[in-house]
């Protein structure tokens, strides 16, 4: 028995000694955020992942940025001017310093834009900068961008995460921005353990003034239950995911605050318009009428606003003339009969894993389709398979559910729609392609809006999707955390004014 007693004594001692190391280690001025997704790289020019831009926003700056109201405002460009023909953009730079100590000048902007336009960079966003003919440093602080044709969306591209300005000296060295990012942003990069955390330190020389917290730690926590528990124990100050079932728990707790605001997503069930019967617009309209999208939004996506076309609710570009399809079982059935769809016709309903909400939405759609006499067979596939086999490649699906992320400019959302080669729905509508193409290069705002309105009305009629809606963006924070916000449409995290109260 003697050895046991010794072991027990020691175990207790070890326990007591180790306890202080586990709790309360974090500084009061460290803000910890739990994030479900994870960046693939922190090089803003070689990724398309929202998660990457959500984090890189704190490390880099862009010439133009999006304010809390969703407007484009000057950032590293103190001011900018557009020539009347819409072909020349002149940017005047602010005084700012990169984290490596070099000063921002026009050469950095030139090198940055040259790199994203270069084919060997293989940027997924390269196409947004292809209209650029030249980028030139007119002086140390002045950059002139010349376009081949007007591109009103250019400012939006420059304000997005992929418009981040990188230091030309480091670019010339072939620096690994993906693992060692260097920017002018409010926080400098400290370290990154994948699947664990990214640590950022406040940049005291930030050109807009130093941030109020000393450190930001972003933890990668895929499980929303773990996020919630960490929020409850105080381990996390902000969590980016709150499961619908947990929202009452957060709301009932006075030390926690649930934030609910509109997102930039458009949730849809894409319809493969090259399939039998589905090529008939009447059938696609019937699907829209026969699925109660209010229920889909409520149950699968925990609330939001319905849409009737391919534009997020609340967008200034959303046409007033387009109403969401209202649930109408009788009309839907009549349209299907008219189109000659046989009773019990089977459909291949493909749902992407691990997106639980889309899977749930798909199951609801399946129920509604049964009421229409359609037999939708659910097939759940992993995301990589979905991208290569459903969304791209052979496009093996009849109906599939997905969310399209927010875009600052409608060209980002709409380009490609109507061209069967570039859109997974396979909708073939040259007139629509023409409308969008013309709108994309129309500098006059009113004329541009009219063209997009016409395009969006056409999309409503053609109904290549079952339009669900725009969900709310729901996240939670400790009530004493103030000043944290997420960029409208882009969902980037903004810690510049974050502080503890």
């Amino acid at each position: 028995m003697q050895p046991w007693r010794i072991i027990r004594k020691h175990a207790l001692l070890t326990l007591v000694l180790l306890l202080p190391l586990t709790g309360g280690a974090a500084l009061a001025q460290t803000l910890t955020m739990a994030m479900a997704a994870q960046p693939d790289t922190l090089d803003p020019q070689v990724t398309a992942a929202t998660a990457a831009f959500q984090v890189s926003k704190s490390i880099y700056d862009t010439l133009i940025e999006v304010d809390r109201a969703g407007n484009l405002v000057p950032a590293l460009a103190a001011s900018y001017a557009v020539s009347p023909d819409g072909l020349t953009y002149t940017f005047e730079l602010v005084e700012a310093t990169f984290h490596d100590g070099t000063a921002l000048d026009a050469a950095d902007v030139v090198a940055t834009l040259d790199r994203i336009r270069a084919e060997e960079t293989a940027s997924p966003k390269r196409v947004e900068f292809q209209g650029i003919v030249s980028v030139a440093a007119q002086s140390d602080r002045t950059v002139v961008v010349t376009l081949s044709e007007p591109q009103p969306a250019l400012l939006s591209s420059l304000a997005s995460g992929w418009g981040a300005i990188l230091p030309s000296e480091k670019l010339a060295e072939g620096h690994d921005f993906g693992n060692q990012p260097v920017g002018t942003g409010p926080f400098s990069f400290v370290g990154w353990t994948r699947d664990n955390a990214i640590t950022l330190a406040a940049n005291p020389d930030y050109y807009q003034g130093a941030p109020q917290v000393e450190q930001v730690v972003i933890r990668f926590v895929t499980d929303s239950a773990v996020q919630l528990q960490g929020l409850l124990t105080g381990e996390f100050d902000v969590v980016d995911t709150v499961a619908a079932a947990d929202q009452p728990v957060v709301e009932a707790n006075p030390s926690l605050t649930l934030v609910r605001e509109p997102s930039g997503l458009v949730l849809v069930a894409g319809i493969n318009t090259r399939r039998e019967y589905l090529s008939d617009a009447r059938v696609r309209q019937a699907l829209n009428l026969g699925v109660d999208t209010a229920i889909v939004m409520e149950v699968a996506y925990n609330g939001g606003s319905q849409v009737g076309t391919f534009m997020e609710a609340g967008s200034p570009w959303y046409p007033e003339s387009v109403q969401p399809f209202a649930y109408d079982l009788e009309t839907a059935r009549a349209l299907l009969r008219e189109a000659g769809v046989p009773q019990g016709y089977t459909l291949d309903l493909v749902l992407p894993q691990p997106y639980e909400a889309h899977i749930q939405a798909g199951q609801i759609v399946q129920d509604y389709l049964r009421d229409l006499g359609l037999d939708a067979r659910i097939r759940i596939v992993e995301w990589g398979v979905w991208l290569s086999d459903t969304y791209g490649g052979p496009r093996n699906f009849d109906i599939t559910v997905v969310g399209h992320t927010g875009k600052l400019d409608p060209s980002g959302r709409l380009t490609g729609l109507g061209d069967p080669r570039t859109n997974y729905t396979g909708l073939d509508d040259p007139k629509l392609v023409g409308l969008i193409a013309t709108a994309n290069i129309t500098p006059d705002h009113a004329a541009r809006q009219a063209l997009y309105t016409e395009a969006l009305e056409r999309i409503h009629e053609a109904a290549p999707f079952i339009f669900f809606g725009t969900p709310d963006r729901v996240y939670a924070r400790q009530t004493n955390v103030a000043g944290f916000w997420m960029t409208p449409l882009l969902d980037s995290y903004d810690f510049r004014e974050a502080r503890f109260e």
């Binding site: 070689v46 293989a122 997924p124 370290g191 353990t193 933890r219 124990t233 086999d389």
Partner: protein, 313 residues
């Protein structure tokens, strides 16, 4: 002995090559590649193709195979497609977490499993035996992800003894290895149960041996008899221990996920979903190596523990 080492060495290389070849083609048989996934919803087919060329996926599969194995001969595991840095760096960063976790779980399961098994076997039908039976039944039936979650709820959320999330941002340090206790317990419990069952069976078997009866009839103290039984029964458990250690590696995949631990388990999961072929292959090499090493070690230990095996054959 040299001959033994040589055959072991050759069989290791052959095993590694076979498994790696299998994994090499299996990951490429999955639909979609790293370029498609990085491109996401917005990239055009041309952009994805450029990306593919950039990261070396545009070459034919046999060409990739030749390049990869050629690199291996020079100890080059290639670059991660997603992280754009050498796979070796990725593995060096991740290995300590998994090794520490597996090591802690192994020790725990060893102490708990053998202890319970021997106690139970020495007094079949006694209270210790019944308690062990209950423990092993429950432990083998509980899914790891659920049990881990239960531990988090109790010890991290309610008692606050541990952080909810695996390791601190700084990663694995001496102080933060304390955080690995809950995951190690989660991982150890079902393995301890298996060990306990086997140890108990071996002890029971041993109890019926002639020498035990003789020793008893000669009036040896029960404790002394127990020692003899244990030392004769335990070598038979060693092969299972080796298997168990191998199983720990797969078990870490689930446990690392539940506790959010940045080890090899999450690495291979992330690698598969991102179609990061070199990373998946790199983890495979490590896993095979550990598996072979552990089995070899078990062989060695058995030689030490069982003198009969040392006789020339």
């Amino acid at each position: 002995m040299p001959r033994y080492l040589l055959t072991q060495g050759v069989s290791f290389v052959v095993t590694l090559w076979a498994v790696l070849t299998l994994v090499f083609f299996a990951v490429r048989a999955l639909p979609g590649d790293a370029a498609t996934i990085m491109g996401g919803l917005d990239a055009t087919e041309e952009q994805v193709q450029t990306l593919r060329e950039r990261i070396g996926l545009a070459r034919s599969v046999p060409a990739q195979y030749a390049a990869y194995f050629g690199g291996l001969l020079q100890a080059d595991l290639g670059d991660s497609l997603r992280e754009r840095r050498p796979v070796t760096n990725v593995l060096i960063e991740r290995l300590p977490v998994t090794l520490t976790l597996a090591g802690m779980a192994f020790l725990l399961s060893l102490v708990l499993g053998l202890g319970l098994g021997v106690l139970a076997g020495l007094r079949p039908g006694g209270p210790a035996d019944r308690a062990t039976l209950l423990f092993t039944t429950v432990a083998l039936a509980i899914p790891e992800f659920w049990f881990g979650f239960l531990l988090i709820l109790l010890f991290a959320v309610n008692l606050g003894w541990f952080p909810v999330l695996g390791l601190p941002p700084s990663g694995l340090t001496l102080a933060s290895s304390w955080n690995l206790i809950l995951p190690a317990v989660t991982l150890a419990i079902p393995r301890a149960a298996q060990l306990a069952r086997l140890a108990r069976a071996r002890v029971l078997e041993e109890r019926r041996s002639d020498y035990v009866r003789t020793a008893r009839s000669k009036g040896l103290l029960p404790a002394a008899v127990g020692r003899h039984i244990a030392s004769n029964a335990l070598p038979g458990v060693l092969p299972l221990l080796a298997l168990e250690l191998g199983g720990l590696l797969t078990g870490t995949i689930v446990v690392e996920q539940v506790f959010g631990l940045p080890g090899l388990g999450l690495t291979i999961l992330g690698g598969i979903s991102a179609r990061d072929y070199p990373v998946v292959q790199g983890v495979t090499i490590l896993a095979v190596t550990v598996y072979v090493l552990v089995n070899w070690l078990a062989d060695m230990l058995q030689l030490v523990a069982d003198p009969r095996l040392r006789a020339p054959t």
